[in-house]
C-alpha cells in the first residue's frame, strides 16, 4: 500500500518536474527567439537548412496529400451539406470548420509525423554523441544554434504549409461546389469572403504558429533528455512524440475555446 502511494507520489512529482522544466525551457526559447543577437550567420544558415528540410523538401508529397485529402474531404463535406439541406451555411461550414480547424490540424499532424520525429532523433543523437558538448567547448550556445532556428523554421513551415493546404482545399471546394451546387467560382469566393472574419484569420495564423512552436520545441526538449547511451534515443523520441500529440490536442481544444468566446 505504501509502495502504491509512493508510486503515485513519484509519478506526480516526475510529471510536475517535467512540466516545470518544459515551461522553463519554453521561457528560455522565447527569450532567445526575441533576442536579436541570436540571429548570427550560423543561426541563419540553420534556419534556411531547416526550412528546406521541413517545408521545401516535403512540398511535393505535401501538395499530393493535400490534393488527395481535399478531393475526399471536400467531396464528402459538400455532399453532406447538400443532403442535410444546409447549403445556406456552406460558407460558414467551410470557413469555420474546414479552413480554420481541419487544415491546421492536418498540416500540423503531417509535420509532426515527419519533422517532429526527425528533430527529436537528431537532437537525441547529438546529445549521445556529445556534439552538444563540442558546441559548448567552442562557446556556441545550443539554444541559439540548435533550438531557436529549428523552432523558428517550424513556426514558419506550419504557417506557410497551412496556407498551401488551405489553398489546395479551396480549389477542391471550388471544384465540388460547381459539381454539387452548380456554384460559379466568383460566387463561391464571395460566399467564403462573407463568412470569413478577419480576426478569425489572425487567430488561424497565431494557432498555426503555436502549433509550429510546440511541434518543434517538444521534440527538441525531449531529445535533450537522452543520456550518453544509445538506448536512450528511442525512449527520448517516444516521450517527445507522445508529448507532441498531447500538445496538438491541447492547442486544438484551447483554440476552439478561444474562438468560441
Amino acid at each position: 500500500m505504501v509502495t502504491f502511494i509512493e508510486g503515485i507520489g513519484t509519478r506526480t512529482l516526475k510529471l510536475c518536474r517535467s512540466a516545470f522544466e518544459t515551461l522553463f525551457f519554453t521561457w528560455q526559447v522565447i527569450l532567445h527567439l526575441l533576442d536579436l543577437k541570436t540571429y548570427n550567420k550560423a543561426t541563419q544558415l540553420v534556419i534556411i537548412t531547416q526550412l528546406y528540410f521541413t517545408a521545401v523538401q516535403i512540398l511535393p508529397l505535401f501538395i499530393y496529400i493535400s490534393a488527395l485529402m481535399g478531393l475526399f474531404l471536400m467531396g464528402i463535406v459538400l455532399d453532406s451539406i447538400k443532403q442535410m439541406g444546409m447549403a445556406g451555411n456552406l460558407g460558414n461550414i467551410l470557413m469555420g470548420f474546414i479552413f480554420t480547424e481541419v487544415c491546421p490540424f492536418m498540416t500540423v499532424l503531417l509535420l509532426a509525423l515527419r519533422s517532429g520525429a526527425a528533430l527529436n532523433t537528431e537532437v537525441a543523437v547529438m546529445k549521445v554523441s556529445k556534439e552538444l558538448d563540442a558546441l559548448n567547448v567552442f562557446r556556441i550556445d545550443a539554444f541559439d544554434y540548435i533550438v531557436v532556428p529549428r523552432i523558428l523554421s517550424g513556426i514558419i513551415s506550419v504557417v506557410l504549409l497551412n496556407g498551401i493546404f488551405t489553398l489546395v482545399l479551396l480549389a477542391s471546394g471550388a471544384l465540388f461546389s460547381r459539381m454539387i451546387f452548380g456554384l460559379a467560382f466568383d460566387a463561391y469566393i464571395r460566399i467564403l469572403v462573407v463568412s470569413a472574419d478577419f480576426s478569425d484569420l489572425v487567430i488561424l495564423i497565431l494557432k498555426c504558429a503555436t502549433f509550429g512552436f510546440f511541434i518543434t520545441l517538444l521534440p527538441i526538449r525531449y531529445g535533450l533528455t537522452a543520456s550518453n547511451e544509445l538506448s536512450s534515443i528511442p525512449i527520448a523520441v517516444l516521450t517527445g512524440m507522445n508529448n507532441v500529440f498531447i500538445a496538438i490536442v491541447v492547442i486544438e481544444v484551447l483554440s476552439l475555446i478561444l474562438s468560441s468566446i
Binding site: 554523441s129 559548448n136 567552442f138 556556441i140
Partner: protein, 140 residues
C-alpha cells in the same frame, strides 16, 4: 548544458566530436559564422584556403563520416584554429590518429597554421614521449 571553458580554447580531442550533420567546411567555419557573423562565402573561402594548405580542399564538401582519421584530425585542428587568438590543446593525438608512427605529421600540421593560433599544447601519456622527438617536454 553549459560548462565554462577559456574563451580562446581550441580543443582537439576524440571527446569533442565534429558535428555530424554539417559537412567539412561548415564544421570549420561554424565558429567564424557564429562568433564573427562572417558571410558564408567569405567563411567558405577561408576554410577552403586552409584546407588547401594541406592539399585537402577536395574534402571541403564531404560529410564527416566520409573522412579518415587523419582528415578528421585536420578538420578538428582547423576548427580549433578558428577561435580568435586560439589556445590550441591537442588531447592525445595518437588516439585521434592511431596509425601515426610519430608526431612529425602533427608538428608539421601545427607549423602550417601557426599564423592562426596564439599558443598550442599537446597532452599525451608519458610513454609516448619518444614519439615527439622534442626535448622540452613537461611532465605532470
Amino acid at each position: 548544458m553549459k560548462e565554462r571553458h577559456p574563451e580562446n580554447l581550441g580543443l582537439v580531442s576524440t571527446d569533442i566530436p565534429l558535428i555530424s550533420n554539417l559537412n567539412v567546411w561548415l564544421n570549420i567555419a561554424l565558429i567564424r559564422l557564429y562568433h564573427l557573423s562572417e558571410s558564408r562565402l567569405q567563411a567558405k573561402r577561408v576554410v577552403v584556403g586552409l584546407l588547401n594548405r594541406f592539399q585537402k580542399r577536395e574534402i571541403a564538401g564531404l560529410r564527416i563520416a566520409a573522412l579518415d582519421h587523419w582528415e578528421r584530425y585536420l578538420v578538428k585542428l582547423l576548427r580549433a584554429a578558428m577561435v580568435q587568438d586560439a589556445l590550441i590543446v591537442i588531447d592525445r593525438p595518437f588516439r585521434l590518429v592511431p596509425d601515426l608512427p610519430d608526431a612529425e605529421l602533427i608538428e608539421n600540421s601545427l607549423t602550417r597554421i601557426d599564423d592562426l593560433y596564439f599558443s598550442c599544447r599537446i597532452l599525451d601519456y608519458s610513454w609516448n614521449r619518444d614519439r615527439y622527438r622534442i626535448k622540452d617536454v613537461s611532465e605532470s
